[in-house]
Symmetry: C2
Subunit: 346 residues, 2 copies
């Protein structure tokens, strides 16, 4: 079984701003190309099992593509500090396996049926199977980390895994709850997305033998990038171009997910408009035209604009953080990825 | 929140043979009593979270009791080798948290509604919540292991976690499949139950600084004990005394679980009886009197007797294994637990 190296979107047909981001991702990918093949081999090796369902289901997930930003953070962070060993490959593969396990459980929890344009594993094989194969991948990720043999990294990545699970539980509690605040949503993003970004980069920097300030800078850089990245994704769920992006616009709205655009829109809605959010989000009773109405409210109240503005503030912090580590082609490529990630939605 | 130290069954009303086993467990518990309080504190600490649902759901599971055989294996194994540190407590708590995470996911996968006489977490809080809190406990278990700081132990326990997940997937594949063979079922038991028993004991022995032969002996002792223990449990699901045992007789039959009693019964059934197993297990169409019919077939064909005999063979191997480690009150208590565990069903 081979692992596709393609990104999930076609760079040619994507809008210019999104092409810039995919270009930056491609630059980073090219810089880490030989590592990346090793990462894919490690992932492939560690999703094998004599129990045939496991590689089938895991392979479906892994082959579905994705930009693999998390493992690239680990690889690039190690190279920022001129790391010359091989353990960054194991850690990058472990990070991607943790992410994969999370996606499998996520899709069960969200009852999702599509991911990156393909049927989800829970739809093809079933929820039980997705839960158990997720557990398997999670365990295999830990084995890989243990093989890398750095207790500080093990501590960081095991802590991140716990935080991700906490974030998922928190998100479950905010779902369909239109009282969700900005702070609560940021807590979810921090835990669900930014924690793994942060520890992926921090782990790479640590084995690259950085000093404490640099470790802190790499962690904060990736954490702020993770927040910015997630917020832009949330905005794109309302204003994206789905033909070129390979994602379905409106999923978050249909699932009643309280992302930042809705948090802002509800907070800014007029008293007589609350009933709309109550019906469509809290009660989950949606008519075909509701999504357009929601977008119109968001436009009027700057809900999308301000979501992007919030993403840009975190991107600026992220760029400031990365300016504190050695300037080289790896840190430049990381900075370029952050910069272009927030222009995706403009 | 306090953690109940009670075992799941009442020693007074249990039959004599089961009382002997509970007595052996109580002896082991008394020998490790002060450690045990520390283990409970570690478990309590590591199931905390600012996300309130997590300690609520985890507390429900943890307070439901159970004999806590797995963490006792770790504690006792360390003491067999005169270990005087504190890391065995962390490892024992990690082992119990892994077991707890597995139970949460197990109950979702099996769609169980009762465990140890109480409603399961998936029934009270929901499947999604059980999946995510299971993930949380699993991550916290790894953090505890990392805190213990022994890479060999980390390798053993992370490998065991992967094997457990593999075993669960394998069991899913055998469920309702009356073609399941003895070997396939033993594979399930080895992975689902015996792997964690084995690595729990091996981890304790390792930090106790045993030699390689002793490490091997402790691992094999606990693996064979785990198999014997599971097989007796499987038999008790057909012939147990539920008032005294605190477990519901007939659960495995109703769920179509291919445990050893059914594997033997199907293999030994007459050609015209296959339709009975096909209907009740494969098709899951059961009438109230079917359980008694199944038990009658099992009695006629020695399916229970031979399940117990198989358990006893593994118990003998287990006793032979433990005879290779230093003889002291800890190894004696472990041996006594193995011996009495297989007389539970006679």
């Amino acid at each position: 079984m081979s692992i596709s190296l393609a990104t999930s979107a076609d760079p040619i047909s994507a809008p210019k701003s999104h092409r810039d981001f995919l270009g930056a991702v491609a630059v980073l990918r090219a810089l880490t190309e030989s590592d990346f093949e090793s990462v894919n081999r490690e992932i492939l090796t560690h999703m094998q099992s004599s129990v045939g369902l496991i590689p089938d289901l895991a392979g479906h997930l892994v082959n579905a593509g994705g930009k693999r930003i998390r493992p690239m953070l680990t690889l690039a962070a190690a190279h920022v500090f001129d790391y010359e060993g091989v353990d960054h490959v194991k850690l990058a593969a472990a990070v991607e396996l943790i992410h994969g396990a999370t996606l499998l459980h996520d899709d069960v929890v969200d009852e999702s049926s599509l991911r990156r344009g393909a049927k989800t594993a829970n739809v093809i094989w079933g929820n039980k199977e997705s839960v158990l194969v997720g557990d398997y991948l999670f365990s295999r990720a830990f084995e890989l980390m243990v093989a890398a043999g750095d207790l500080r990294v093990l501590q960081i990545l095991s802590r991140a895994s716990g935080i991700i699970a906490e974030g998922e539980v928190l998100q479950l509690a905010t779902q369909k709850n239109i009282e969700t605040t900005f702070e609560q949503y940021l807590d979810v993003v921090n835990a669900k997305t930014a924690a793994l970004f942060a520890s992926a980069a921090q782990s790479g920097a640590l084995i690259g033998n950085c000093n404490e300030q640099q470790e802190d800078a790499m962690r904060c850089f990736a954490r702020n990038f993770g927040i910015a990245y997630q917020l832009v994704d949330d905005a794109l769920d309302y204003v994206g171009f789905e033909e070129s992006l390979g994602k379905t616009v409106g999923d978050d709205f249909r699932e009643g997910k309280m992302t930042l655009p809705i948090v802002y829109a509800v907070a800014r809605s007029k008293p007589d408009e609350k009933a709309f959010w109550q019906r469509t989000i809290s009660d989950g009773k949606q008519e075909p035209e509701d999504f357009e109405t929601a977008r119109a409210f968001m436009e009027r109240d700057d809900a999308i604009v301000d979501t992007i503005a919030c993403a840009k503030r975190h991107a600026e912090k992220s760029l400031n953080d990365i300016s504190k580590v050695p300037a080289n082609k790896y840190s430049s490529a990381l900075a370029e990825m952050v910069e272009t990630s927030v222009s995706r939605a403009s």
